[in-house]
């Protein structure tokens, strides 16, 4: 029989105002197992905690029930007090008579009666509690960052600076991501490459960072502190450690008509290519889809021209396996495709471009060497119309429901850069709202309007009609003047919505990390835990978690790094002991629990069991990885044979609570 102490807290008047705490303590004195029952105004205070500790020591208590506020407030406090007094912390239960009782009810009789019932249920549970000990699991002191854009790079740099080894896996031939494609960045209008490339170089040269570019994660096994990851290193057909990045091969390659991805298809590259001049690693890659040698075994010019002998047409994809303690998802974003928005004639006219394409046009290293000219005829545009919110804030099913956050600012940026360089070009921006919430952001956009004479019109474009003379007729509404406008533009720029990279969903499955319906990784708590996935050991950095600009990305990247460092700094991880466990004698190997576990904590293995008649049989039974299990109980409920049970919340305990309430 247990020796249980009951401690009822007044919580000032929070509880005592609606619950007769004396009556509760009195009523609970008579419950089975209870040897003392008392009350006090503030149980969580030092005096209150001392009451508990003294009671434990003096009475040799084996269990305790605290009737107080929500366990989310003070369970940790009271468990620490119990431990200090020599009582196993998992022999202490909390009956929430505040959030679930005194704060809901208005009259004392109801509140008191309910508090007594809640207390009885907790006592019934504690009678069946067993002491639990937290387990331990090891920590591999290495981190993996998936994605080599500014978010991934910044996270990796911060982790590396703290002294931990970190690998970056990036699927394109170079790190840098979208920021490498940008021209200038708001709100300071400094050159993106100038601020990014030093970080890229730093990452490449840091002794703690290893970059696996042109690589992908193919498998993730394990759990927090002990992940095993398979990485596929795609064949470049160029020896990465020998290639000097001189670029001679790219000049001599006869296949020159392949749309250049870096310039969004607005100009061409060769089959053997370096994505851009500041690529890291600066090595060539052969595109197997378009290489004559790889397809027909005829050519081989690049191998002949290469003075370093770095070309290797026989190279194969390589698979490596590495161990990590923490994984960071930093897979970034892409602008959406526009097949649902043909009213803007994107597919009908080369002079209707997306904002990212416009960014490349403005960029000095872009398809037009930084000259602002129309893609169709190379003529300088005299009138440009920018359309905001193409595909964002759209609940009709054509686009994304959310606001893409960055477009108002980058459109103001584009407008200003255009007006500054070409004061003879008229610029219109059609907007629904102008969202410029960051530091110095509103001032930035007002400069566009007030100093650079950009025409901001509140209204939306209904249609862009390409005319036979090459102009684009833009039909739009001006809501302030109540007019329908027809502007004959030379170029139209669409601020398209952004969406997470397509690789994110399969990665989320591999990581068992949750995603929302828009394919953004979900954070553990929207406000208080923004850079952690609910899955232990997985962290989030950058736009893969939600649309954001560069200042926010870098902030978040640092935050994710700190969380990783906090994890890797530990030598061992304490596991939550309230985890599921399976009774092997009852388990029938049906796999139902494995399928419902959101954390991937359950696995099956074949074990030998003694059977009647001195025989043995091999049976497939479940086992729970206590380090990964979060104690959600889904498996316990699903298990058809009752083999699965939850420590600290066993089936018997739940039923005992119900019985106590119904008594």
């Amino acid at each position: 029989m247990q020796k249980i102490g009951v401690f009822v807290c007044h919580c000032g008047t929070n509880v005592a105002g609606t619950v007769d705490v004396n009556a509760v303590a009195e009523a609970l004195k008579n419950e089975p197992g209870v040897i003392i029952s008392t009350d006090y105004p503030y149980m969580c205070s030092e005096t209150g905690q001392n009451i508990i500790k003294n009671a434990v020591r003096e009475n040799g208590l084996t269990g305790a029930v605290i009737c107080s506020c929500s366990p989310r407030m003070h369970e940790v406090t009271f468990r620490k007090a119990a431990t200090a007094a020599g009582l196993n912390p998992y022999m202490l239960e909390i009956a929430n008579i505040r959030e679930q009782c005194s704060w809901i009810h208005k009259d004392m009789p109801t509140g008191t009666a309910k508090a007594i019932v809640l207390g009885k249920a907790a006592i019934a549970k504690v009678n069946l509690n067993v002491p639990l000990t937290s387990g331990e699991s090891p920590v591999t002191k290495r981190a993996l960052v998936i994605g080599g854009g500014i978010a991934g790079i910044q996270t990796a740099l911060d982790i590396a600076e703290a002294g931990f080894e970190v690998d970056i896996v990036e699927k394109s031939p170079t790190i840098g991501g979208k920021m490498a494609q940008m021209d200038k960045t708001f709100p300071t209008l400094d050159c993106a490459a100038c601020i990014l490339t030093p970080k890229m170089v730093e990452a490449a040269q840091h002794e703690n960072i290893k970059i696996y570019a042109y690589s992908e994660v193919t498998e993730v096994k394990g759990f927090v502190g002990s992940f095993t990851v398979k990485i596929k290193r795609k064949a470049r057909y160029v020896k990465e450690n020998i290639c000097t990045g001189c670029g001679d091969c790219t000049k001599k390659c006869p296949q020159k008509k392949i749309p250049d991805e870096f310039n969004l298809g607005m100009n061409n590259r060769s089959a053997i290519y370096i994505p851009f001049a500041q690529a890291v690693p600066k090595v060539a890659t052969i595109d197997p889809e378009h290489c004559t040698m790889l397809k027909t075994s005829k050519c081989g010019i690049c191998a002949k021209v290469c003075t370093a002998n770095a070309i290797d047409y026989t190279q194969q994809d390589e698979y490596i396996e590495e161990k990590y303690g923490a994984i960071v998802a930093a897979t970034g974003y892409n602008p959406i495709t526009l097949e649902n928005f043909d009213e803007f004639a994107y597919s009908r006219s080369p002079d209707v471009v997306t904002s990212l394409e416009y960014e490349r046009i403005l960029n000095a290293a872009g398809p037009t060497d930084g000259k602002l000219v129309r893609p169709s005829d190379g003529v300088h545009p005299k009138t440009i119309v920018f359309i905001q919110c193409v595909g964002s804030r759209d609940t009709s099913g054509c686009g994304k429901q959310y606001c893409s956050k960055v477009c108002c600012m980058y459109t103001a940026k584009h407008a200003m850069l255009t007006r500054e360089k070409y004061p003879d070009t008229d610029v219109y921006v059609f907007y629904i709202d102008v969202r410029t919430a960051g530091k110095n952001f509103d001032e930035f956009y007002r400069r566009a309007v007030e100093d650079y004479d950009v025409h901001y019109i509140k209204g939306m474009v209904g249609k862009v009609a390409p005319m036979a003379d090459g102009k684009l007729m833009v039909q739009a509404s001006d809501l302030i003047l109540n007019e329908q406008l027809h502007i004959y533009a030379d170029m139209v720029v669409l601020a398209t919505a952004i969406e997470p990279d397509k690789s994110a969903r399969s990665l989320a499955t591999m990581l068992t990390a949750s995603m929302d319906t828009n394919d953004f990784f979900t954070e553990a708590h929207a406000k208080l835990r923004p850079v952690e996935s609910p899955t232990a050991g997985i962290f989030l950095s950058g736009t893969c978690q939600g649309p954001k600009d560069i200042p926010e990305t870098v902030s978040q990247a640092g935050a994710a790094a700190v969380k990783v460092i906090g994890l890797l700094a530990k030598n061992k991880l304490t596991c939550n002991p309230c985890v599921a466990h399976s009774d092997e004698q009852l388990c029938n190997g049906c796999s139902s629990c494995e399928k419902v576990c959101p954390y991937g904590a359950i696995s099956y293995s074949d074990k030998e069991f003694r059977m009647p008649g001195r025989t043995t049989a091999v049976r497939r039974v479940a086992s729970v990885n206590a380090a990964v299990c979060q104690g959600c109980g889904a498996c316990t409920v699903t298990c058809p044979s009752g083999a699965m049970d939850l420590n600290g919340f066993s089936n018997r305990q739940i039923m005992a609570e119900v019985d106590a309430i119904c008594r």
């Binding site: 009213e343 759209d394 009709s396 939306m460 209904g462 809501l479």
Partner: protein, 128 residues
């Protein structure tokens, strides 16, 4: 008058099935409307006017909507201003003697090529 206004607004919302609160005042409907210049009130206004209960003004002037569905197709919130106009027209023409187009007006409008489809459509949209 207040109660009548509220009644009329409720009637419009019920008949049209439109949720006017979804509108985010973007103006794409008005940017798409082919008869914008011929209207006294424009698509982006109808929605707000109904929301505020200014239905009487709309009841007097709503006959230039072509029911071409461009606003319905392009609205990013699925609001469908054209449905509101139809509901408002119905509230007018369902009243006795309030048809916008009357049978005796037709002979003057006929020509030998006019497809009867035009007459039927116009009656459907402007009369009961």
């Amino acid at each position: 008058m207040q109660t009548l206004k509220k009644k009329l607004t409720e009637q419009v919302l019920r008949t049209s099935g439109v949720n006017v609160r979804k509108c985010m005042r973007c103006g794409k409907c008005s940017g798409s409307c082919p008869s914008y210049d011929e209207m006294d009130y424009h698509p982006h206004q109808f929605v707000y006017m109904v929301e505020r209960g200014d239905v009487d003004a709309l009841m007097k002037s709503n006959y230039r909507c072509l029911s071409c569905m461009a606003c319905v197709e392009r609205c990013p919130r699925g609001v469908a201003p054209a449905k509101l106009i139809e509901a408002i027209r119905l509230m007018v023409v369902r009243q006795q003697g309030q048809n916008h187009l009357k049978a005796d007006q037709i002979p003057a409008l006929l020509d030998k090529d006019l497809p009867q489809q035009a007459i039927v459509s116009a009656f459907r949209k402007y009369s009961k």
